[in-house]
Amino acid sequence: MDCDCLLRVVDMAKIFGDGCPYCLELTDDEHNICPRCGSIVGCAEISFEIMPNEILGIVGESGSGKSTILKTLYFDLEPTKGAAYLNCYEGDIFKANSQDKRWLRNFKIGMVYQNPEPGLVMDITAGGNIAEKLLAAGWRDVGKIRERASGLLKRMEIPVVRMDEITRNFSGGMQQRVQIAKALANNPEILLLDELTTGLDVSVQARILDLIKEIQRELNIAILLVTHDLGVIRLMAERTIVMRNGRIVEYGLTDQILEDPQHEYTQLLVNSEV
């Protein structure tokens, strides 16, 4: 890797559908359905870098492809094109074998989904969810596992007495916190947050975002934060990428994006803030 960034994504694309050789050239940020074959270009021409310890925001409306990027980086989806490089791994992570991908997901990349369902096992205890990550990392001492799990839950402001409660019984906000605790279990280098606070009460949102900020500083972790909420971007991210219909339309320093948006769509987005 020739730059000292933590993550570098190069020309990534994800097409949903059969795809054809013309999908990419015949689509753009206004039209993302290929006129030849009808496939949907989820995202295309995605290139960006994240430095260690940085919070990068990706903002866009529904269908902009921002979640697709995260899911592809977490190996939930296979990219149609492109490469991604992590500074701790030799080679393109998209081409890694399943064992290496598992290693990356366990140790280097943490993911928090918008809905707790894909990120948590609902029918086991909250502590068990965190234990799952630790067990995958080879922890074999129940006492130590519980110690680490309760420490993480405490940090996420979940009362430790609820550690042995079934996750399904928690409120949405609590489930998100359990998800975050789980994602941090093995001290990943980068955290992927997909619409972390959408659907939560405002006060809960605020507290979770503040927690993330504190944790980011404590753990020196990089964060890729996806949201449609400009307020979240303003609070959290130093740099921001703006997406529309699968393509990046603008990127830059967050304050510049919000106060001096250059692209037509960015201006529309910024001006639409209620």
């Binding site: 399943s98 064992q99 598992r102 096992v121 086991i124 205890t125 502590g127 068990g128 234990a131 799952e132 067990l135 995958a136 074999r140 001492d141 129940v142 006492g143 596992i145 042995d164």
Partner: protein, 278 residues
């Protein structure tokens, strides 16, 4: 017996099963699919074990069949009868004398040597089935050595019940590679599998899988550093017949309806009584 092949199975079937057994022995703990045949016993009653025994048995073999440790149960006797009628091999109740021991739910108490084979009847070969219903996913887990789900299950066990609750079918790690279901033998027998002099063959007829532990192979039950694997504790109880306190006991009632404990391995119990003049 007229009209039937030697040992009931045709030679092609035997070849298929033997090939699969060899493959199983070459990959300790790995479940090898095989073409399981229709047997004159209903599925779930030992068809897998029976097919392995029939594929291996020859004139010089001596067969012992036990069920829950007893040579005299209905199933054990039926199976012995079937084998004998199609092969004419010698049958025995003496563990030391047998070359092939087909068993359901127990390993005989006495030490076995390198010339002996134990054939286990297996109802459910997949140790991960408790935590993952999909066959496709369990196969992938074995392929990738991704056993985190069963470890998680053990953790939740401990959280909920204070200890690991597996009684029989305690999951073991074979040769540091594959997770294996040792069939419903009690925990008592699990340590016997580790580094054994004998060959262990496991076969599930209904599920169509055969797997093996070759002699002198590492077999480790799953355990945590602070929650170790333990065998059953009989709390000082002894066998009502032979007085033994170092064999696996089962609960029973005497003629007057009182609770008593008896050796599960009946032939060993008998042997001891004979030797001690009881």
């Amino acid at each position: 017996m007229k009209g039937y092949s030697y040992a009931f199975l045709d030679e092609y079937t035997k070849r298929e099963i033997r090939r699969k057994i060899l493959k199983a022995v070459a990959i300790p703990g790995y479940q090898v699919p095989f073409a399981s045949r229709e047997m004159p016993i209903a599925k779930g009653w030992g068809t897998g074990g029976l097919q392995v025994t029939l594929s291996l048995i020859g004139d010089s073999d001596v067969l012992k069949v036990i069920d829950q440790g007893s040579d005299d149960s209905v199933n054990a006797i039926n199976i012995k009868r079937l084998v004998q009628r199609t092969t004419d091999v010698k049958l025995t109740k003496d563990t030391k004398e047998a070359t092939i021991i087909q068993t359901r739910h127990r390993i005989p108490e006495e030490d076995l040597n390198e010339d002996q084979i134990i054939v286990f009847q297996v109802p459910f070969p997949e140790p991960l089935r408790t935590v993952e219903p999909s066959e496709q996913l369990t196969r992938r887990m074995h392929a990738e050595k991704d056993y985190s789900k069963i470890w998680l299950y053990l953790y939740e066990n401990i959280v909920q019940y204070g200890d690991i609750t597996f009684g029989a079918r305690y999951p073991v790690m074979v040769n540091d590679r594959y997770l294996m279901d040792p069939s419903p033998i009690p925990r008592w027998d699990i340590p016997r599998l580790h580094n054994a002099a004998f060959l262990s063959l496991f076969c599930a007829g209904r599920e169509k899988r055969v797997y093996a532990i070759p002699p002198y192979t590492k077999v480790e039950p799953l355990e945590f550093e602070d929650y170790k694997f333990e065998v059953e504790n009989f709390d000082g109880k002894v066998c009502a017949m032979c007085g033994s306190d170092d064999t696996f006991l089962t609960k029973s009632v005497d003629e007057r309806g009182n609770e008593i404990w008896l050796c599960s391995d009946t032939s060993f119990c008998e042997k001891r009584r004979r030797e001690d003049g009881l």
